[in-house]
């Protein structure tokens, strides 16, 4: 009897796997809409624009982090890299470099830090946790040093437009940053699913020994993964600078945990081999809606933190439960 049902059940399971994070997002939105006093403000186009633009930085970070976590690694230096690159962008703008140069340079700095991480991890066969924990301190320190331990103000420039909310009372136009993030997300979906580079990332995370057996140059691939991840973190830093209109070396402390949480809520396993860009993006949105909704509901900051903590554990627990039933 179970046999005749198993193909449909298998398909149901697949659908549920894709829809799982979506349902979670709907539940969270529905939950905050329950309160009639909050609903009109929470469920408005203008507020969704705010949520989207607040989520962008975590989302862009999650694009890089998804790749890294799928490969079986982790990067704890995200928050510090965002701070460092935001300072770099501000310093360059203050010295009147043209924005057309500042933007790629800032992203490159992020990529360079990722490259150092990758080379250390692959070359010395070290644990990514340790290497990036070290880099977390190095990047943060460098940011403070560069900024002279204070915020770096910079002249108004087109860079600030990336995250600007024109027409704050309506949904459109969205800030360019949201479009950039969406475009990159689509690109990364393709890269992870349909390029050899992407399939190798899954292979390494699923079973590094098999990857080696199958001729994948595992260490080289790891350097590429962390470097590419670094580009995304650099871009997130640029967006951070754009949003605050200044470079702040003490910004984004603990951002890495939000980014990792988004990826894990999106269905990735910290032991590698599974995860999806779409899931991570929804995970980032869930985090964004939670923060925004708690603010709107006038919950104190400490309640937000407790609730976000519970949501992370719940999301992963549900995922485990689903997997155990599947096997």
């Amino acid at each position: 009897m179970g046999n005749t049902h198993s193909p449909t059940r298998a398909r149901m399971r697949q659908v549920l796997n894709v829809l799982g994070p979506f349902l979670g997002l709907l539940v969270v939105i529905g939950f905050f809409s329950l309160n009639p006093e909050v609903r009109p403000y929470f469920l408005s186009g203008a507020n969704f624009k705010v949520i989207l633009s607040q989520t962008v930085i975590v989302a862009v970070g999650a694009l890089g982090m998804t790749m890294i976590i799928v490969s079986g690694g982790i990067d704890l230096s995200v928050g510090s890299v965002v701070a460092l690159t935001s300072v770099v962008a501000a310093v360059l703008l203050r010295q009147e470099w043209i924005p057309l140069l500042v933007i790629p340079l800032t992203v490159l700095v992020g990529g360079f830090i990722g490259f150092i991480n990758g080379v250390t991890i692959a070359g010395l066969r070290m644990m990514p946790f340790i290497v990036t924990l070290g880099m977390m301190g190095i990047a943060r320190g460098t940011a403070k040093w560069l900024a002279g331990n204070q915020t770096v103000n910079c002249p108004d420039s087109p860079v600030n437009d990336i995250m600007a909310l024109h027409q704050p009372m309506q949904l459109l136009p969205l800030p360019p940053g949201v479009w950039i993030a969406s475009g990159l997300a689509i690109l990364m979906v393709l890269v992870l699913r349909q390029t050899v580079f992407g399939r190798y990332i899954f292979a390494i995370g699923s079973n590094e020994a098999t990857a080696r057996l199958c001729g994948i140059r595992v260490q080289r691939q790891k350097v590429l993964i962390y470097t590419l991840g670094g580009f995304f973190f650099g871009l997130a830093g640029l967006m951070q600078m754009s949003r605050l209109a200044q470079g702040d070396p003490s910004v984004a402390v603990g951002l890495e945990l939000d980014v990792i949480a988004a990826v894990v809520i999106g269905g990735a396993s910290l032991s590698g081999g599974t995860g999806s860009i779409l899931g991570s993006m929804i995970g980032a949105l869930i985090m964004g809606v939670l923060r925004n909704g708690s603010n709107m509901s006038d919950w104190p900051n400490y309640m937000q933190e407790i609730i976000i903590g519970i949501v992370i554990i719940l999301a992963v627990a549900l995922d485990r439960l689903r997997q155990r039933r599947a096997s």
Binding site: Q194, A203, S206, R212, L213, C214, G215, I216, R217, G273
Partner: protein, 504 residues
């Protein structure tokens, strides 16, 4: 007649449909070293796992010092005086020698470790082996392999065992260390400990054992006094089965040499391996577990470091190489360790099948999942894989089907040279027969196959030529007609027939 220390009568054990032990009887006297001899898969470890509580027998009778005994779990067995030392070292590398010796049996009072007593216990155990020179405070991982082995035995002695089981204790020891181990065994014997000594090396058994029992295919086929035994007779007992006809002979013609190893040496194994593999040939490599066969192909494939020697592919020198290069040369390696190395268990069958060869599945640099599924489906049909579809994860398949997927990857890669390391290990008879037929078909297509196996009947059944590896050396390779199971085993245990004849 005194009661034996241990008596096992008519022990039976099945795993699903396979009968691992059918009718085993076994007796050990106090203060005796008893050799348990059998080929890989004969049932030695199953029997010992029943004794030490890891498995429960389906039926049969076990007596320990005349009283019925049934181990509920390993701890219970240990408390009853049965200790086992496994082939692989099982020490906690970062704990000290002393902590390792008493691990699990720490003298304690209200949950606090009694350090003084712990030290005394550890010291007494090492003294019993006359190895009190090993520093108690050093972390276990800083000691030599031989000393770690002593620590392992000392740990077994803490419980004051009545029966001590040693599984291939010398496989990683040098000659001098082996002598020391024999001395330690001699002392334990004098103290009345009964020792079950499992080893492939018959000359070792002759040195240290008093009696022997031979297992074959889960049955006791012989026992007796070691001193009166003739090695030839024991080998005949070990082998003595009919070659069944599950080995389809598919006619194939042998062509030019396309792969050659010249004096390959790795670290530490193999010591020296040379062979020529020809197109359309199935070349079998026989030998005991640990002889260095796996290490030979891994080094040749670039997975492990090659210390010396050269690899020639299609008559061209192709020395040091990474697996990637070997794959482009059309060489594929099937790992002996399907679960840990061979497959990505949590990925789909399609991913597993196509990982090394995305080329024909891509359009403009993007892999088409439709083409990927199509290719996967084709291989699954061709290899008769029982699964829901190409999207199912590899972990959900049976061993036989998993193995077909792992082989399918080599076929999808269009490899012309296949290095198959134990391709039939741990899979059902039906799948085995399918894999034998497939190997015949591949050879008929002109592919060259190197077939490593520890199971002689299958080597005799499907190979054109067979070479035997013993302690890291691949000695002569001969056409299968010039071998008998008897002569292969004799060669594998380092007792070539010529020597046997002069001895006996």
């Amino acid at each position: 007649m005194p009661t034996p220390r241990l008596r096992m009568v008519d022990v039976r054990k099945s795993f699903g449909a396979t009968r691992a032990l059918q009718n085993v009887s076994f007796e050990v006297e106090p203060g005796e070293v008893h050799a348990l001899i059998g080929e890989n898969g004969a049932g030695k470890s199953t029997l010992m796992k029943i004794l030490s509580g890891a498995y429960v027998a389906d039926s049969g009778h076990i007596e320990l010092e005349g009283r019925p005994f049934r181990a509920a779990d390993p701890l219970h067995a240990r408390r009853c005086g049965i200790a086992m030392i496994y082939q692989e070292l099982n020490l906690a590398p970062h704990l000290s020698v002393e902590e390792n010796i008493v691990l699990g049996e720490e003298p304690r009072r209200f949950g606090w470790v009694n350090r003084k007593e712990r030290r005394a216990l550890a010291r007494r155990a090492l003294a019993q082996l006359q190895h009190d020179s090993i520093p108690l405070d050093a972390p276990a991982c800083t000691r030599t392999i031989a000393e770690q082995q002593i620590v392992e035995i000392a740990r077994a002695l803490v419980g004051q065992p009545k029966v001590l089981i040693m599984d291939e204790p010398t496989s990683s020891l040098t000659r001098v260390d082996t002598e020391n181990l024999y001395a330690a065994i001699g002392r334990l014997k004098q103290q009345g400990v009964s020792i079950v000594y499992i080893s492939h090396f018959l000359e070792e058994c002759q040195r240290v054992c008093d009696r022997y029992t031979v297992l074959r295919d889960g049955t006791t086929v012989g026992h007796g006094l070691m001193a009166e035994a003739q090695l030839g007779e024991i080998i005949r007992l070990l082998v003595g089965r009919e070659v069944q006809d599950i080995y389809p002979r598919i006619p194939h013609t042998i062509g030019e040499t396309i792969l050659e190893f010249r004096q390959l040496a790795g670290r530490p194994k193999p010591r020296s391996a040379s062979l020529r593999l020809r197109a359309g040939e199935i070349l079998g490599i026989a030998g005991l577990v640990g002889a260095g066969r796996t290490e030979m192909v891994r080094a040749a494939f670039g997975l492990d470091r090659l210390a010396e020697g050269t690899v020639h592919v299609r008559n061209r020198l192709s020395g040091l190489a990474q697996p990637r290069r070997r794959l482009t040369e059309g060489i594929g390696l099937l790992s002996e360790n399907r679960k840990e190395e061979g497959l990505m268990l949590n990925r789909s069958l399609a991913d597993n099948l196509t990982l090394t060869h995305f080329g024909p599945l891509a359009r403009f640099g993007f892999i088409s999942s439709r083409l990927q599924r199509q290719a996967a489906r084709r291989w699954m049909e061709e290899l008769d894989v029982h699964a829901q579809g190409p999207g199912q994860s590899a972990a959900e398949l049976s061993g036989g089907n998993q193995q077909k997927i792992a082989i399918g990857r080599l076929l999808h890669h269009e490899a012309g040279i296949l290095l198959l390391d134990e391709p039939t290990r741990g899979i059902d008879v039906g799948s085995k027969a399918q894999i034998y037929r497939l190997m015949g078909q591949l050879a008929a297509q002109g592919k060259a196959i190197l077939f490593i196996s520890s199971y002689l009947p299958e080597l005799m059944g499907i190979c054109d030529t067979i070479g035997v590896m013993c302690r890291g050396v691949l000695s002569d390779i001969r056409p299968v007609a010039e071998w008998t199971e008897h002569s292969i085993i004799a060669m594998a245990i380092g007792q070539p027939e010529s020597q046997l004849e002069t001895k006996s």
